[in-house]
């Protein structure tokens, strides 16, 4: 049993942040462009059974997020609120892969964990497990984000920072630094080092000196990259490593009686069910991000097992996809993507192999439904990874609509070292077409 003030602070800040984030989402009109407007969505295969919400249901989901967030923040009807928030938020997150963000997944995980804690009982001393569960989760995100940076693109070529940083040469005071390759290299190494060591510094007695570095680091990423509220999630979350005494001082210093943490006079005894749950959860969290090791080849290229692994800001991968269908009469035509997908979906489909396959399935089903016609679908997809020249991403004459996305190797993705350039392709195209059964 420990004084769990850090967890109470976390719960309050997390609640406030998700309410803010939801309002921000509504304010920017993303509810339309991400949820209601798309004609088709790209659900995660395992959750494809979830029905797509209509307008009313979408409003209900967002209302659930706001009310759930308020409940988490205030601690009133906490357990119910946490469940509602987790379900609504995760539901929306799972609707379409094109909206996937690591920080959404992080928010889902944190809100899920909150359900199992008693972090609303601010007058209780809680089993240390409750607090340490969050310290573990937050530490893990830092550490794994650091591990993901240990690759040659990041460390040797300083990519994608070499591409991204020179865009900020007009930034005040430090902007001039960004023109130099050395800055990108320095930032890459410093970033990797920061991520790898952050959990250990935050757990050590040096945390008071390290926390300002955390703040500066995240504010810098916030200024340099369009990553929304993620830096603030991390800045707030990292306070959980401070001592209970520090947290109490913080709330006392605000001199607002309704924010003051009550004395922890009661205590809640540990629960063996909770221990079991935590053990299983931790094991999954440790292992799940490493599933990309099951696949051969460059995981940035085929992106098998890429999501849900804390691989953040590692790629600049623009792409351009052209989809072709072939009907029974053997006539091949190019699809007009604009009439099928939103700009954001087009961007995502153009570089993510599983979404390419998913879209081929959508096209196939749509033709079957509307015209009663069986069509074959193929795609010519060009992508450029981390400053390399463009090359073909998938086999250009492979029928895609019959491929089921699974956890198997994506054999339709061309090997990263095959490097078929546009110029070579124009020479190869006829032969490739002839050799295929397209």
């Amino acid at each position: 049993m420990v004084d769990s003030a850090p967890l109470f602070t976390f719960r309050r800040l997390f609640g406030a942040l998700v309410v803010f984030s939801t309002l921000r989402f509504l304010f920017y009109g993303w509810i339309n462009c991400q949820i209601l407007n798309p004609l088709y969505t790209f659900p995660f295969e395992e959750f494809a059974f979830l029905p797509r919400p209509n307008f009313i249901a979408t409003i209900a989901l967002f209302a659930g997020m706001i009310l759930g967030g308020i409940s988490i923040m205030s601690g009133r009807f906490f357990r119910l609120g946490a469940v509602v928030f987790f379900l609504c938020f995760t539901y929306v997150e799972l609707l379409c892969k094109s909206n996937y963000l690591n920080h959404y997944y992080f928010v889902s995980v944190l809100s899920f964990l909150l359900i199992f804690t008693s972090s609303h009982k601010e007058d209780h001393r809680l089993p240390v497990l409750h607090l340490n569960l969050f310290r573990f989760m937050i530490g893990l995100v830092y550490f794994y984000a650091g591990v993901a940076k240990l690759n040659t693109d990041w460390l040797i070529d300083a990519q994608p920072l070499s591409i991204w940083l020179p865009q900020h040469t007009s930034m005040p005071i430090i902007g001039w630094l960004f023109q130099y390759k050395a800055t990108a290299i320095l930032f890459s190494w410093a970033g990797a080092l920061f991520d790898l060591t952050a959990p250990f510094f935050l757990m050590s007695r040096f945390r008071n000196y390290f926390y300002p570095i955390v703040v500066v680091f995240h504010i810098l990423t916030w200024l340099l990259f369009p990553i929304g509220i993620f830096p603030w999630v991390m800045i707030f979350s990292a306070t959980i490593f401070f001592s209970a005494e520090d947290h109490r001082k913080f709330w006392d210093a605000l001199k607002l009686s309704f924010l003051k943490l009550p004395e922890a006079t009661k205590s809640q005894s540990p629960n063996s069910l909770m221990k079991c749950f935590v053990t299983v959860f931790i094991l999954i969290q440790i292992l799940f991000p490493f599933r990309y090791l099951m696949y051969s080849g460059n995981s940035f290229w085929h992106e098998s097992g890429y999501r849900f692994g804390w691989r953040v800001m590692l790629m600049e991968k623009p792409g351009w996809a052209r989809f072709f269908i072939k009907n029974n009469e053997g006539r091949e035509v190019e699809l007009d993507l604009d009439s099928w997908l939103t700009p954001n979906q087009i961007k995502m489909v153009s570089s993510q192999p599983d979404m390419i396959v998913q879209f081929a399935g959508i096209v196939h089903d749509e033709y079957l439904k509307k015209n009663g016609e069986e069509v074959k679908v193929r795609a010519e997809v060009w992508a450029s990874l981390n400053g390399r020249r463009s090359q073909l991403l998938i086999e250009p004459f492979r029928e895609l609509s019959s491929i089921e996305n699974s956890w198997a190797e994506r054999d339709y993705v061309l090997p990263f070292d095959s490097v078929i350039s546009p110029l070579e392709y124009s020479k190869l195209e006829k032969q490739l077409r002839a050799d295929s059964n397209w």
Partner: protein, 385 residues
């Protein structure tokens, strides 16, 4: 140890860590304002100065093109009004047709600037949505309350509608004999002139300065706006609309759609429009323009930006690939023949080859170039995966 914590958290004392951050941001914003005002500062050799690029684009390419386009709409408007005063005079009618051609050609020079003032007024769709709906035009002719500009009118206004009224079979007699029809033609060109004037004056009065001052590369910055529009207009409005759709590349039936060519009724214009549509892309890319005495000036363009990164593979080699492909594309276009509506039917395979050449530029621009520039063209928050 807790002392630092107190410093960090004690908002009341004002001695918290956030105070210096706020001060820093404040000072930073002052610097930001300052650097916008002074424009060019050239003390860094290998620091590519986007302000120079934006100035070149704005002053030497964009504004002169809009000025030219606006003047052409004025000339066309005057010609049409002159014709309306004397509807039986075939000379007046012919001068309308001549003015129409130069207006359509000058439009190609500005079509790619589909951001800021142009996108606020939906200039692209009000000016050049084709094929035009002739039934709607004929319905609108006798309607005194008809007003152009609403979404329902997009496919029956602008240059394609004027093309129909001026160039369809028996156009002269129909206009001469129908005051309503002629009045409708006047309405159409007047609307176009008003829109052209509004966009042009936005650029010269307010937006030009805003454009030059936004030297960042984030979403919504000038360079982001230009490159987004550049890629979108090239891919969709040049490659696909001007050649792809007529060639039948995107129709299920697979047959060419001759009625989808640009300036269908003029017959002898479509290829010239396509040829002139590619030039502004080349100019924006190279930064080149003609000065008042007609001399070619090599200003700063995307090519210089690419090369400034110093990476050979992604800088100069990519640049020379793009330049070579621009040349191939222009050569390919020159093999097309007017009327394009006949050509796509009789020479579908050849038209397709040209389309492939235009296509190759999309890969180079949209994937390689954007990958190298790293300009953030995101639509929403994106954490990079």
């Amino acid at each position: 140890m807790t002392k630092v914590m107190t410093l960090l958290y004690n908002f009341k004392t004002g001695r918290n860590i956030f105070r210096p951050v706020v001060v820093l941001l404040f000072v930073a914003s002052l610097f930001g304002l300052n650097s916008c005002g002074s424009g060019v500062d050239d003390d860094q050799d290998n620091d590519f100065d986007r302000a120079v690029l934006l100035n070149n684009w704005c002053d030497n390419l964009i504004i002169p093109s809009y000025e030219n386009y606006y003047n052409e709409t004025l000339i066309l408007k005057d010609a049409v009004e002159l014709f309306a005063d004397d509807p039986t005079n075939i000379q007046n009618f012919e001068s309308c047709r001549v003015a129409f051609i130069s207006t359509y050609l000058s439009w190609q020079e500005v079509a790619l600037y589909d951001f800021g003032p142009a996108s606020n007024r939906a200039l692209l769709s009000t000016t050049n949505t084709y094929p035009t709906d002739i039934d709607k035009i004929n319905q609108a002719v006798p309607d005194d309350n008809w007003t152009p500009g609403s979404p329902a009118t997009l496919d029956n206004i602008g240059l394609p509608a004027i093309d129909y009224l001026l160039n369809a079979d028996d156009a002269f007699n129909q206009l001469s004999n129908s005051p309503d029809r002629l009045a409708h033609l006047v309405r159409l060109i007047q609307f176009m002139k008003v829109e052209a004037e509004a966009v042009y004056s936005d650029w010269t009065t307010t937006y030009g300065a805003t454009f030059k001052a936004s030297t960042g590369t984030e979403m919504g910055s000038s360079i982001g706006e230009v490159l987004n529009a550049f890629n979108k207009v090239y891919e969709t409005y040049v490659r696909k609309q001007k050649l792809g759709l007529p060639t039948g590349i995107m129709t299920l039936s697979g047959t060419p759609l001759p009625g989808h060519v640009e300036a269908y009724y003029a017959q002898n214009l479509s290829v010239d429009l396509l040829a002139s549509a590619i030039l502004p892309f080349e100019n924006i890319y190279l930064g080149n323009y003609y000065d008042s005495s007609g001399i070619l000036i090599e200003g700063m363009g995307i090519d210089d930006y690419l090369i400034s990164f110093g990476d050979v593979e992604y800088g100069s080699i990519l640049d020379s690939d793009i330049k070579a492909q621009i040349i191939s594309s222009k050569q390919a276009i020159s093999t097309l023949e007017n009327p394009l509506s006949d050509y796509v039917v009789n020479n579908t395979a050849e038209a397709n080859e040209v389309y492939q050449e235009l296509q190759a530029l999309v890969v180079l621009w949209k994937v390689d170039m954007m990958g190298a520039l790293g300009v953030l063209v995101t639509y929403i928050d994106n954490d990079g995966d």
